[in-house]
């Protein structure tokens, strides 16, 4: 709760600081804010408390995910160096919008009432609509923002409709009470309830870009400025999946039989679309967009496993995926901006010109591909273990395994370009000191979690 208040206050303070002449102070200040929020958030560990007549509950689940999302934003922030260098007049607004959207994200993992879920999603999304279009002179950025807004508004409508139907069927917005209502009737519910549930699933699936509601993802991710794409594909996705899991466990556990077939179809489709789609991309940024779809699929796998290992495997997967993705997009942004272009070939010879960038990128790619020694391996491992508890789901693991092997193909293409292709005319890329520090930190974190996963795997 304190973290929500602090973030809102900091966001406003940040806007005022933006009036000052020197914009150099903005990034360190925002980093400081996030460190404070991260620390304050940890104070509520093991101190479960609910607020506003049971609208929000800060339990360990919420604290853990808040921690991850704050950390991800913290890691991401230094990659906005470009805006500082260019003395972008809107920098303060960007940071404030990120802080505000983090408020929405925290509400999405701590809601106790579906109204709060809706409000959280909206706070998060509205900020993202703006940020996607923040490159005002770029046609693609404008297109991305418009597409995201129109599609987002449409699916938010569906989500809201779902919430209303559930309310109609159960007479409450409180997720625990909705759960109790189903138990009271032994899970036999009206068709209004089923329809509402289905709409909720569709609405959230859109937010986490699960297939077949993913069509906006490649275009928006590609068109939006890379820095904000990184935020969308990490924090927004983590919040979405965490909210989804919370919803399913607290409100709809008793209707498992209704939503399970739907979700399993969505999961398989997401895995297939994400992995196969990424293979055929010529641009590294689009590849990462499709890869984020495929990772939504792996996250959904641990959701449909729906057992005591699900929450911690979602948590670990989010950490591994977010850190690697932040590094990948961060490096892509610097490379693309200074070399001009987002194709694989833009990375040519990076191993020669910028060994640090190339190494950090390699570790991130291997982590996303799920190779041992990186966090990504244990992330997949915990997901598979969670799913395999139900022996009848072994086929799903086989599908995921085959598609994970496909994934190695496209991640490796970046590594090959960096180390095995000549640099040609490309020059060394300038990297800000904050960004270098964060890249080293992310690389060490990724390898550390690949060796000692217990640091994160069993905290909730």
């Amino acid at each position: 709760m304190t973290s929500i208040i602090l973030l809102s206050v900091f966001g406003i303070v940040n806007l005022f600081v933006g009036f000052m002449k020197s914009r150099k102070i903005l990034m360190p200040l925002a980093l400081l804010f996030l460190v404070v929020v991260f620390g304050v958030n940890l104070l509520s560990w093991n101190e479960t408390q609910s607020y506003f007549n049971n609208m929000l509950t800060m339990d360990n689940y919420a604290v853990a995910f808040t921690g991850i999302m704050t950390l991800t934003t913290l890691l991401l922030l230094p990659f906005s160096q470009r805006y500082v260098d260019e003395n972008d007049s809107n920098l303060a607004e960007y940071y404030s919008l990120l802080l505000f959207s983090l408020v929405g994200a925290i509400m999405m993992v701590s809601y106790e009432n579906m109204i709060m879920l809706f409000v959280g999603i909206e706070i998060l999304s509205v900020a993202m609509y703006v940020l996607a279009g923040s490159d005002k002179k770029s046609l693609r950025s404008n297109e991305a923002a418009l597409k995201y807004l129109l599609m987002g508004a449409f699916f938010t409508g569906i989500l809201l409709f779902g919430i209303v139907l559930i309310y109609g069927a159960t007479g409450t917005f409180n997720i625990t009470e909705i759960g109790a209502a189903q138990i009271a009737t032994d899970g036999v519910m009206s068709s209004m309830f089923t329809l509402g549930l289905l709409m909720l699933i569709i609405g959230i699936s859109f937010k986490i870009s699960a297939a077949p509601f993913h069509f906006w993802t490649p275009d928006v991710y590609e068109g939006a400025p890379t820095f904000f794409t990184a935020f969308m594909s990490t924090v927004v996705k983590t919040a979405g999946v965490a909210a989804f899991f919370k919803l399913m466990t607290a409100a709809f556990a008793a209707s498992y039989a209704i939503w399970f077939p739907t979700l399993i179809a969505i999961t398989v489709l997401t895995l297939v679309v994400g992995n196969i789609g990424a293979v055929v991309q010529g641009s590294a940024k689009r590849m990462l967009a499709y890869s984020s779809i495929s990772h939504a699929g792996y996250l959904l796998m641990s959701l449909i496993a729906f057992n005591e290992n699900s929450d911690s495997s979602i948590l670990f997967y989010s950490v591994a995926y977010s850190t690697a993705t932040v590094a990948a997009f961060g490096i892509l942004q610097m490379v693309a901006h200074q070399r001009g272009g987002e194709e694989y070939a833009t990375f040519n010879g990076l191993g020669k010109t910028n060994p640090l960038l190339a190494f950090a990128m390699t570790v991130s790619m291997l982590s996303l591909a799920g190779i041992p020694l990186t966090a990504g391996f244990f992330a997949k491992f915990f997901v598979f273990t969670a799913v395999a508890q139900d022996a009848s789901l072994m086929w799903l693991i086989v599908v995921a395994v085959v598609l994970a092997a496909v994934g190695i193909y496209y991640y490796l293409r970046v590594v090959i370009a960096m180390y095995m292709q000549p640099a040609g005319n490309y020059e060394t890329i300038r990297v800000g000191s904050f960004a270098s520090f964060m890249l080293i930190f992310i690389t060490i974190l990724t390898i550390l979690l690949g060796i000692a996963p217990a640091l994160v795997s069993n905290i909730i």
Partner: protein, 483 residues
């Protein structure tokens, strides 16, 4: 404790080598690899050769909540494989002294780093630890092959990497399943896996999940398509690592994680595996006869030899298993020696085509002798190492089925055909343009070849030194399989 030292020393040394700029990196790497070998030899002194169970073990929790432990130890089979690895790596490093690789510190660090992965595979007593090291060994060799390799290296190593990872992900899925079948709070300890008595239907599909990973690594026909290209395009040191040691990971995996874990599955499919292996023997031998590129020829001969090892192991009798273990050592030694000789010839003549070579014996007496000995070891002449292994393997296959034995026995005849044809073409006859001024071996080259040739004779004359180390472990293994 000494097992942990064996495991981590190369990784530490790799970090050290990484810091050294310039050519002295190779010397440091060589010294580090020698120290590792000394540690392995020292480990023999603490090894009780009468016991068939894992010794010098070390266990501490790794992912405690999930019951995964960092558990290592060695029985006779592991010890022999560790000895092979630690014996070959210094020689592989030494064999590279003639080359000037760009970024030598990274090159040698990767070799040493891979050694940690290899040793880890051979000493791991926990399924997930085994998988972990299995992949850790792959990443460095992929980079060695893909960065320092030949012209077509990028596509070829790409196929190799994706292919092997594809296989090992199935292994991971199988391990996850087995892990969840262990009673109580789950554990991935090897003994818990041995005690799982799954029904034969389950074992049947688990068998394939595990087997596909090992079969791709070995490789067994028809999973071998990545191998000839990868061996040919990689730099010689990577080819040596792949063929000399990494291939043994696959066979070792079968011995340790396939046969005892799913014995019922094995009994259902052993015959099919034998047939595949024997097809592989004949198929690869016939292709080897037709090869003109020396490296490709040895690559195919390697498929044939591994086919025989796999056939022997899947007979599940003591001769077959013992033969498999000893032949792993022999094959490692011979194939590394042969690839080194091809590298010597290539670096002097700039060609590996048999037809453009010839008459090397006239200039290079020492090279001819070493080449001949390694080649005879490879075609299993009595008194050499190849004979012991192939004899035991074939007698194992004959016990299983006479017809299988007869066809597998073709390997001896076909092996002699392609090997001697190659020797004839390269070494005898009239000198060609490129071999006109062929220089004989340098001191450095002799230093690599002499230890290899000594081992050819040692294993050939006194195989009991090695067989007695692995025998209790093999008997123990058989008792678990036949339980």
């Amino acid at each position: 404790m000494i097992t942990a030292l064996l495991l981590f020393w190369p990784a530490l040394a790799a970090l050290l080598v990484l810091l050294i700029k310039g050519e002295s990196a190779k010397k440091v790497a060589f010294v580090a690899a020698l120290i590792e070998f000394a540690i392995a030899v020292f480990a023999i002194s603490g090894f009780d050769a009468r016991s068939g169970s894992a010794q010098m073990a070390l266990t501490f929790p790794w992912v405690e909540s999930a019951g995964i432990s960092f558990s290592i130890g060695m029985d006779g089979i592991s010890l022999l494989m560790v000895l092979l690895t630690t014996f070959l790596v210094p020689l592989i490093v030494l064999s590279s002294f003639r080359h000037e690789y760009k970024n030598p510190n990274v090159f040698y660090a990767l070799i040493l780093f891979m050694q940690t992965g290899l040793v880890g595979v051979f000493v791991a007593l926990d399924a997930f630890l085994f998988y972990f090291f299995w992949e850790v060994a792959l990443i460095p060799v992929y980079f060695i092959a893909a960065v320092w390799g030949g012209e077509r290296r990028i596509q070829v190593t790409f196929k190799f990497f994706v292919y092997t990872i594809f296989g090992s992900l199935f292994m991971l899925a199988a391990f996850v399943y087995l892990y969840l079948q262990t009673p109580g709070t789950h554990t991935s300890d090897i003994n818990a896996f041995y005690q799982l008595a799954l029904d034969s239907g389950t074992q049947s599909w688990i068998f394939w999940f595990l087997f596909i990973a090992f079969a791709i690594k070995m490789p067994i026909f028809p999973f071998h398509t990545w191998q000839p290209d990868t061996y040919t395009e990689s730099p010689t040191q990577a080819t040596m690592l792949l063929s000399g040691i990494m291939l043994k990971m696959g066979i070792y995996g079968v011995l340790r994680w396939l046969l005892p874990v799913v014995p019922l599955g094995v009994s259902q499919w052993a015959e099919l595996v034998l047939i595949l292996s024997i097809i592989g023997i004949v198929y690869a031998s016939v292709i080897a006869i037709r090869q003109r590129d020396l490296k490709r020829l040895i690559a195919y001969s390697s498929i044939a030899h591994v086919g025989l090892i796999a056939a022997g192991i899947f007979t599940l009798n003591e001769q077959g298993l013992q033969g498999g273990v000893i032949q792993m050592l022999s094959h490692g030694i011979n194939v590394v020696g042969l690839f080194f000789i091809i590298d010597i010839i290539f670096s002097r003549t700039k060609t590996r085509e048999i037809t453009s070579l010839g008459g090397i014996t006239q200039n290079a007496k020492a090279l001819s002798i070493f080449f001949m000995i390694l080649l005879l070891g490879s075609v299993a002449l009595p008194l050499t190492n190849g004979f012991v292994g192939e004899f035991l393997l074939l007698s194992g296959v004959f016990q299983y089925n006479n017809w299988f034995g007869a066809v597998a026995g073709l390997t001896i005849i076909l092996g002699a055909v392609y090997m001697l044809r190659m020797f004839q073409g390269v070494m005898f006859g009239t000198k060609s343009e490129v071999t006109e001024n062929f220089a004989d071996l340098t001191l450095n080259e002799k230093a690599v070849l002499i230890p290899l040739v000594v081992m050819v004779f040692w294993i050939g004359l006194f195989p009991n030194t090695f067989l007695s180390i692995s025998e209790p472990a093999v008997i123990n293994l058989l008792s678990i399989i036949n339980r």
